[in-house]
């Protein structure tokens, strides 16, 4: 009973309150603020941008930053700051699409693989491993070749490529939860597998899903940037941070700032999602909690 005693004393004293209201860690706070800022930019861009981000005006090509053009203009005379603002929409869109596709398929797959008979779960996971071995960007390029380049197509491809990450993680969590006595109690009570999946497994793996989603978001943002840079992502004229990078490369020696602004935007956004993921992991992962 000493384990329990120690748990009772230490846990109830140190983290009883933490169980309900654990302190907000630095990474959670910073990550949350950055993500909130990206969302704020996207919302703002619907109602206000300093200039039309797609307006081509050769008379103001390659302007240096000024009070009129905060981040300057590109080779077509478009306002870089406005493009960054509107580009955040693309960033969020790709994140939601990719993570949505990955989670909607990966989570049920992981739960099924975790609840199915052993051989069946193993089979699903080996298939999963095959997909995991396939490079995400290559898949996206193939999709672009077949269905044409476009943000949605690219992100569905990235989402599909991210399914194994979700499935693997959620299967692990499911296996753990299926071994708990409350699931055995539910089975003994007469609950069918579907009810157990929805009422017991899903709520208890939701923490894992949220953590993986925020990490997946960061991966998707990077992937979109990479694909747009390669020309397989968001087609013009829709502003995208990745394509801004691509367009800036031929002018890198003349106007390096054209690469710096979207580059920094991508880096900060990715950092924000990763920090948020880390912070949420600290908050949700019971294994880490035990080690405290």
């Amino acid at each position: 009973m000493s384990v329990q005693e120690r748990e009772a004393t230490v846990a109830s004293a140190v983290s009883a309150d933490r169980k309900r209201r654990r302190p907000v860690t630095g990474s959670l706070l910073v990550g949350g603020l950055i993500v909130a800022a990206v969302i704020g930019m996207a919302l703002l861009s619907f109602v206000w941008t300093p200039h039309d981000p797609t307006l081509v005006d050769p008379s103001v090509r390659l302007q240096e930053p000024s009070s009129d053009y905060w981040f300057g203009t590109d080779k077509f005379g478009r306002d870089v700051f406005s493009q960054i603002l509107v580009g955040s929409r693309t960033t969020l869109f790709v994140g939601f699409v990719a993570v949505g596709v990955a989670a909607l398929i990966g989570v049920p797959l992981g739960i099924v693989a975790g609840m199915a008979p052993r051989w069946c779960g193993e089979l699903l996971m080996r298939g999963n491993d095959l997909l995991l071995a396939f490079p995400a960007l290559l898949l996206a390029i193939m999709f672009a070749a077949v269905y044409g380049a476009g943000t949605l197509v690219a992100m569905v491809a990235i989402g599909i490529a991210s399914i194994p990450h979700f499935a693997r993680l959620i299967r692990g969590g499911t296996l753990q939860i299926m071994r708990t006595e409350y699931v055995i109690a539910a089975r003994a009570a007469g609950r069918g597998p579907f009810a157990i999946a929805v009422r017991h497994v899903l709520p208890n793996v939701s923490g894992l899903v949220i953590v993986q989603a925020s990490v997946g978001f960061a991966i998707a943002v990077l992937a979109e940037a990479a694909l747009s840079f390669l020309g397989f992502g968001t087609p013009p004229p829709t502003p995208s941070w990745g394509r801004m990078l691509q367009e800036s490369q031929e002018l890198l020696s003349i106007a390096p700032r054209l690469a710096v602004f979207p580059g920094v935007a991508i880096a900060v956004a990715v950092l924000g999602f990763n920090l948020l993921g880390d912070g949420l992991r600290d908050r949700f992962d019971p294994k880490l909690e035990d080690r405290r």
Binding site: M1, S2, V3, Q4, E5, R6, A8, T9, V10, S12, A13, V14, A16, R292
Partner: protein, 350 residues
């Protein structure tokens, strides 16, 4: 409010191995262990019993200087032969004491051993760290000897094995071998047999008792199991709600308990005595979470004898050099035949 003296003001003699005085353990604003004091003499085996939240493990961890992060100990813990107080001693000083002067056996033998290291090396390491053996070869030989002492068959081969190759009981014997390696002055055991099967428990318990007897080590044995304490120890201290509520020789405490909690605990754990409906004696209510016990007497919200006076803190009433209790309405001491306690029961009714 009565003044709170050191809880069990036992006469400090040269013979004392461990002297704990006014030990408090706090976290945030909550007090988990309050004003605990006791001494253990050389070769004496003392049990510390209590339920969850009683603070018994925290008391042991304070003695070892192993309190989890965020918990603070205050008061004094002195060990014979160590020239500083163990409370507040830094890690460097404590590490010279731990494993040499005090050693500990934990409940979970698997987590107490390094899974990637052969057990012979783990034992030899303790000997080398504290320079008890001059060189590696003699430490190795001593490790094999220790494994033989804890009754592992083929100790030579056992020294070459990894922890996962042993059963739970065998692992606990390895942990015991490590703890006894440097002939510690004090062995602290925290529920060492709780995770073991009863037949294995009998074995390990015997080895622990023999190990400390052979070395004339003192032992502080923490458990929730009254029968195990009665079997392994000479003296027992009862903790509840972070305080010592009663202490004394095993026979005296278990046959003539004075504190109402001790009385209730003995009644509730005796499965051979039932009422006319075949039901066991119980203590009402449940153990509050750590740090949430009532003020005054910590047991009063579950005690059938509690009165208004119990809202103040009961004083420690000594009944002998090593025994006493803290209760306003103790079990009448004279009721039991042959009671030798000089204390008048009325003395407690302040």
């Amino acid at each position: 409010m009565t003044p709170a003296p050191g809880t069990a003001p036992a006469a400090a003699t040269q013979d004392d191995v461990l002297a704990v005085r006014n030990l408090d353990v706090t976290v945030g604003g909550r007090t988990l262990v309050e004003d605990v004091g006791f001494t253990i003499r050389a070769g004496e085996r003392v049990g510390l019993i209590g339920e969850s939240g009683s603070g018994k493990s925290l008391t042991a961890l304070s003695v070892m200087g192993l309190l989890p992060e965020g918990l603070r100990a205050s008061g004094s813990v002195r060990l014979a032969g160590v020239d500083h107080d163990l409370v507040g001693a830094d890690e460097a000083r404590m590490s010279r004491v731990r494993g040499k002067e005090i050693a500990m056996v934990f409940q979970e033998p698997m987590t107490a051993l390094n899974p990637t290291m052969r057990v012979g090396r783990q034992i030899a390491e303790v000997l080398l760290i504290h320079r008890t053996r001059p060189d590696r070869a003699s430490a190795r030989a001593a490790a094999v000897e220790l494994l033989a002492q804890v009754g592992l068959p083929d100790p030579g081969a056992a020294a070459q094995a990894y922890p996962h190759q042993f059963s739970g009981g065998q692992r606990q014997r390895v942990v015991l071998a490590i703890a006894l390696a440097n002939d510690p002055a004090l062995l602290v055991c925290d529920e060492p047999t709780t995770a073991l099967d009863v037949t294995v428990q009998a074995r390990v318990l015997d080895l622990i008792v023999r190990g400390v007897q052979d070395r004339r080590s003192a032992m502080l044995f923490i458990t929730h199991d009254l029968a195990v304490v009665a079997t392994a120890c000479e003296r027992v201290m009862v903790m509840y709600g972070g305080r010592l509520v009663e202490s004394g020789p095993v026979r005296e405490v278990f046959t003539r308990p004075r504190h109402r909690y001790t009385q209730g605990l003995i009644g509730a754990s005796d499965l051979t005595v039932v009422d006319d409906r075949g039901r066991l004696a119980t203590i009402r209510g449940s153990v509050p979470p750590a740090g949430r016990f009532p003020a005054g007497c910590v047991f009063r919200n579950r005690c059938d004898h509690a009165t208004e006076v119990c809202a103040t803190r009961p004083e420690w009433i000594p009944t002998g050099p090593d025994s006493g209790y803290a209760c306003f309405h103790p079990v009448p001491g004279s009721a039991a035949p042959g009671a030798t306690t000089p204390t008048n029961q009325e003395a407690g009714r302040g």
